[in-house]
């Protein structure tokens, strides 16, 4: 049992971190009333930027490379998401359509530039990915230490800490209250002097930042290079986590951890008694089936923010 936990939990944290980060972005965007199907594309952008930056600057920056790579990917993700913000907030475009376009555009740009710069469909492996570490002191605690703090990626804890930060920002600060108000009832918020467009822009850009961060963490921990098939569905799984977590940062984190568990079980299940007979396909589709069940109200009803997906046009009723 102990051995099983020691092999599962680091894997769960490892698979969940990118999902948690991207899902937090989804929470910000959707809480402000902008549906973000483009999370997948934002992750692609993040993964692409993280890998390319890492490859280019690893000689100069040495062991700091992965950290600076994810910061750069965060910034690029934020900038890229402005396209979605402009289309869906300023031009009243259908937010789902704009999100679909973001996904196509990110993949197109990523692979196009990879081919132009590297002359082939995928980049080389990076020299400076994230490595597992053991956290000093904490890993010496009996039982808990080896399970949670030995051989883990620091980025996993970064993701969990950021989830709590996001919760604090959304629920304990005036900024968060305003952001949520804009997503529930933009006209009322506007009447109270909250700038609806500005809040939505900020929220979408935050989702781009988190998506970029999530994508780069995925690329630099799990795959170590970039190609057209680096990000296949993780963004949509993060979107599922947003909904399964009921549009709450900590809920989304819990859902992402759970989906990470399902994903890692499908990888390590062969070594665990009980689970080795469960066909892999059930674990693969579990996140999606559960999300549908949650939406249908079988696992506690998931209610979207009231004005989610509706462009706000000043002066309309």
């Amino acid at each position: 049992m102990f051995d099983a936990l020691q092999s599962i939990i680091p894997t769960v944290l490892f698979y969940s971190a990118p999902l948690i980060l991207t899902a937090l972005g989804g929470v910000f965007s959707e809480r402000s009333g902008v549906v973000n199907i483009g999370l997948e594309g934002l992750m692609v952008m993040g993964a692409f930027t993280g890998i390319v930056f890492n490859l280019t600057f690893s000689d100069v920056l040495g062991s700091w490379t992965p950290w600076i790579s994810i910061v750069v990917a965060t910034i690029v993700g934020a900038i890229f998401s402005i396209i979605h913000a402009v289309a869906s907030v300023s031009f009243n475009a259908n937010q789902v359509v704009s999100g679909v376009a973001i996904n196509m555009l990110a993949l197109g740009i990523g692979v196009y530039l990879t081919k132009v710069w590297y002359g082939k469909g995928q980049t080389d492996m990076v020299d400076q990915p994230f490595y597992t570490t053991s956290i000093p002191v904490l890993s010496d605690i009996p039982i808990i230490g080896p399970i949670f703090f030995e051989g883990i990626y620091v980025t996993s804890y970064l993701a969990i800490i950021l989830a709590f930060v996001a919760w604090y920002v959304l629920y304990k600060t005036p900024f968060g209250l305003r952001l949520r108000a804009v997503g529930e009832h933009p006209m009322a918020a506007d009447t109270n002097g909250i700038k609806v467009y500005k809040m939505r822009y900020i929220a979408v850009i935050l989702s781009g930042a988190f998506g970029g961060l999530g994508g780069s963490v995925f690329a630099l921990t799990i795959v170590s290079n970039f190609s057209g098939s680096t990000i296949v569905g993780q963004g949509f799984m993060a979107l599922a986590a947003v909904i399964f977590g009921k549009w709450h940062p900590l809920g989304a984190m819990g859902a992402a951890l759970f989906f990470g568990l399902a994903q890692s079980l499908s990888v390590v299940s062969a070594g665990i008694p009980l689970l080795e007979n469960v066909p892999q396909v059930y674990l693969l589709i579990a996140p999606y089936v559960l999300t549908i069940l949650a939406l249908a109200g079988f696992i506690g009803r998931a209610e979207a923010p009231q004005a989610n997906g509706e462009p706000y046009i000043k002066g309309s009723r």
């Binding site: 549906v35 199907i37 396209i83 402009v86 289309a87 031009f91 009243n92 475009a93 259908n94 789902v96 359509v97 704009s98 679909v100 376009a101 973001i102 996904n103 196509m104 555009l105 993949l107 197109g108 740009i109 692979v111 196009y112 530039l113 081919k115 132009v116 057209g228 098939s229 296949v232 569905g233 949509f236 799984m237 979107l239 599922a240 909904i243 066909p279 892999q280 396909v281 693969l284 589709i285 999606y288 089936v289 999300t291 549908i292 939406l295 249908a296 109200g297 979207a304």
Partner: protein, 349 residues
């Protein structure tokens, strides 16, 4: 006002395509390629000879059907982002029936095609009933259904249709849409009779929407659910019906791939993208049957032509994906284009 709307309905897509192509040219310049050579290669790759022409038509065929799948649901105010999953399930069902059943062509082929449509329809039914009865948003459900379709289909190919292999055997001649006559005409491209089915489906959609009471009700529900309800229409029934028909169109697209182009089904590592491209097709075609055929031909040509760009102009094929994504943005942000046109007209006066 009506003539204005009609004008915009045609002008917005044309301007969007032009803007998309201009942006593509700028990107080629930026990455050190010659845009004129790039676009000449694109044109030759799509319409250069009989073979490429045939392949362009082959690519257009499923795009027409997925475009219809998105547009049909849209008429009822539903966003069918699940065409992707419906294509995969339709593909699987068509090939499955093609492989398992042994019958003369006149029964076997229609049965296989129908199996694809029914499977796709079932895949649309679930989001439809969840929307109609529980008010669950169809966008999220259909996205989730896409992944469920992808993973279960892969599993079925591996463990039911084959013995751990990644590709099924080819379907027998009696279930095949392939046409020696069409192939001979186009220097042995993979063009098949499916294009006739796709064109007929487009006609069918136009007929249902514009000429039948069903279509009238579907549209009415799309415009205003409450008003439709008060005037005695069954809103739930119409929502479910719309998703089922939309799913059936997408399932047919899968059947075209399974029975026409490939004659088999393989384990997929990712989506076919036919469904997502269908969104672009429907959007550019203004959700109108005729517009969809034209838009599907445009995207089919772009995608087929892209294959020629790396070899003769050195431009990666992904340029076309970028162009298509930008076209979607421009059409979706038509607010901006409309505003610009109106501004321009005012100044003229």
């Amino acid at each position: 006002m009506i003539s204005n709307n009609k004008m915009f309905g045609i002008l917005v897509p044309i301007i969007s395509v032009l803007l998309g192509l201009i942006a593509g040219a700028i990107i080629m310049l930026g990455s050190g390629h010659n845009p004129i050579r790039g676009y000449v290669a694109l044109w030759n790759g799509a319409f250069g000879d009989g073979y490429t022409l045939g392949e362009t038509i082959r690519r257009t065929t499923p795009l027409i059907l997925t475009g219809l799948a998105v547009a049909f649901a849209f008429k009822t105010g539903l966003f069918n982002i699940g065409a992707e999953g419906q294509v995969i399930i339709g593909w699987l069902a068509a090939v499955w029936v093609g492989l398992v059943i042994d019958a003369p062509m006149i029964i076997h082929l229609p049965l296989s095609v129908l199996a694809g449509a029914i499977a796709g329809g079932l895949w649309g039914f679930l989001p439809g009933i969840l929307k109609a009865k529980l008010g669950v948003h169809e966008v999220i459900v259909t996205i989730m259904m896409n992944y469920i379709a992808l993973f279960t289909t892969n599993e079925i190919i591996r463990s039911v249709l084959t013995d751990g292999k990644t590709t099924t055997e080819s379907i027998p001649q009696t279930a095949s849409l392939a046409s020696a006559w069409l192939q001979g005409l186009t220097l042995y491209s993979r063009v098949h009779y499916g294009i006739l089915i796709a064109l007929f489906a487009a006609f069918l959609m136009w007929f249902i929407i514009e000429r039948t009471t069903y279509g009238y009700e579907l549209k009415a529900v799309g415009f205003n659910q409450h008003a439709s309800n008060y005037s005695g229409m069954n809103v739930s029934k119409n929502i479910i019906l719309s998703m089922v028909i939309a799913g059936a169109f997408a399932g047919l697209a899968g059947a075209m791939e399974g029975l026409g182009t490939y004659g088999s089904i393989s384990v997929m590592s990712g989506f076919t993208n036919l469904g997502f491209d269908g969104i672009a097709v429907a959007l550019l075609g203004s959700n109108h049957a005729f517009g969809i055929v034209i838009a599907a031909l445009l995207f089919g040509a772009l995608k087929e032509g892209a294959g020629e760009m790396p070899t003769t102009a050195g431009v990666p094929t992904e340029l076309v994906d970028i162009i298509i994504a930008l076209i979607i943005f421009f059409v979706a942000s038509s607010y901006m284009i409309r505003w610009a046109i109106l501004r321009f007209k005012k100044e003229e006066k």
